[in-house]
């Protein structure tokens, strides 16, 4: 299979690689770039664990070829915050027990990141409808919904402080 060159920005850093065109974006992120926070659950486009932002839009990286990200901007969970400097969204999940095994969590966080950028004040129904995209097997979702609501509060508070 002929390789192609791809230039992708990941979390603000530019990468140039020669890859097989069949390489999935999920594998490219995890193994070529080495960012293992994005997880793979089904490779079918059903569970959403692999969700990243592609040019700001929530995208299932297991249903996207890495070459399709060429010239585009990928954001993964690693861009959100650090352990000693969690983002309000991450803090919301921590405070409200929005994760148990942690495997679906990066996908949830990126899905919600897109939501909160387009709508910083979503109501519960909007949150539930959006979270319906992704499957969590541990939590039963309620704590994830509460985590998002808490994140909204925290973000509102931070804006108020500023």
């Amino acid at each position: 299979m002929t390789e192609v060159e791809v230039n992708v920005t990941v979390n603000g850093r530019a990468f140039r690689r020669r890859i097989e065109p069949r390489l999935l974006l999920s594998d490219f992120i995890r193994h070529d770039i080495g960012l293992t926070g994005t997880h793979v659950g089904c490779e079918n486009g059903v569970c959403g664990a692999c969700t990243v932002l592609l040019d700001g839009l929530a995208t299932r990286s297991c249903c996207t070829l890495a070459v399709q990200a060429g010239g585009r901007n990928v954001e993964t969970v690693e861009s959100l915050g650090r352990v000693n400097n969690l983002s309000p969204l991450q803090r919301g999940f921590w405070e409200k027990h929005g994760l148990q095994c942690g495997y679906c969590t990066p996908g949830m966080l990126m899905l919600v990141t897109e939501l909160l950028r387009e709508n910083p004040n979503p109501d519960r129904e909007t949150i539930r409808l959006r979270l319906n995209d992704n499957i969590c097997r541990c939590t039963g979702y309620e704590d994830i919904i509460s985590s998002v609501e808490r994140a909204v509060e925290l973000m509102r508070g931070e804006k108020a402080v500023r």
């Binding site: 065109p21 069949r22 999935l24 249903c63 070459v67 959006r130 995209d133």
Partner: protein, 292 residues
Amino acid sequence: MKPPVFEYESPPTVRGALEALSKHGGKAKLLAGGHSLIPQLNLRAISPGRLIDIGRLTELQYIVEDYGQLRIGALTTHNTIFRSAAVASGCPIMIEAYQHVANHSIRNRGTLGGNLCHNDPAFEMPLVMVLVGGTMLARSARTQRTIAADRFFKAPFATDLAADEMLVEIRIPRLPPGHGYAFIEISQRFGDRAVIAGGCVLTIRYGNCRDVRLGFRNAVHNLFRITAAEAALEGKPASAAAIDATAEAVAKTLPPAADLHADEAYRRDVAATLTRRMLRAACARAGANVPE
């Protein structure tokens, strides 16, 4: 579940894509959003020798309101259409159906053209196109032609497009103001492939149902309009009796369809229920409230 080997090119223009198609024709598949194609590749259910990536052809991403019609570029993403005020006013049944198209994340990347060309018998948009009388504009390297929606969808997963043709635009005639419409879908989880989905459009003139178009998707067949049901309602008053008669016509003529998620009796049964519910909703929208 990784894709098999394939050749890949990413022509920068529509012309380039058409040239590639005419060269590689039957051995190539077009890659738009990829959310139907890539899961199939991951399952190794298909093994195309070549992918022609048209995902960056912005020239085919547009929604234009012409007098009397909407023109949508084939590579416009689902969410762009879902959020469009022009579509909301010009073709509201499309917006109602869009709630059921996959989910938000997939709609970010999936395109209307990709969806229509895939013609999965559970997909909603092919039915919407047929009900509203849409037209597809197809181009090849040397020709261009329009194909009416009811001739475009040939069989499950197959369209009328030749191997060297690409769908470039979808044209939707503006429906009369005050028209009635509804789209309802039944699935086991919201956002799943439909078990059965139904849509209808009509107008009410002097209390009678006119220009009735009614159809279903059953996830098995290349199913669209149920003409016996349309005939049962055409010209009849918007009444419970007429709606019941239409529902019975649907139950009688709907082709039997069974799969993993539902048997034939269920689909037949539910299609009749959906007929009643969507006709009531459509009539109400057209100004005629029909009591239970």
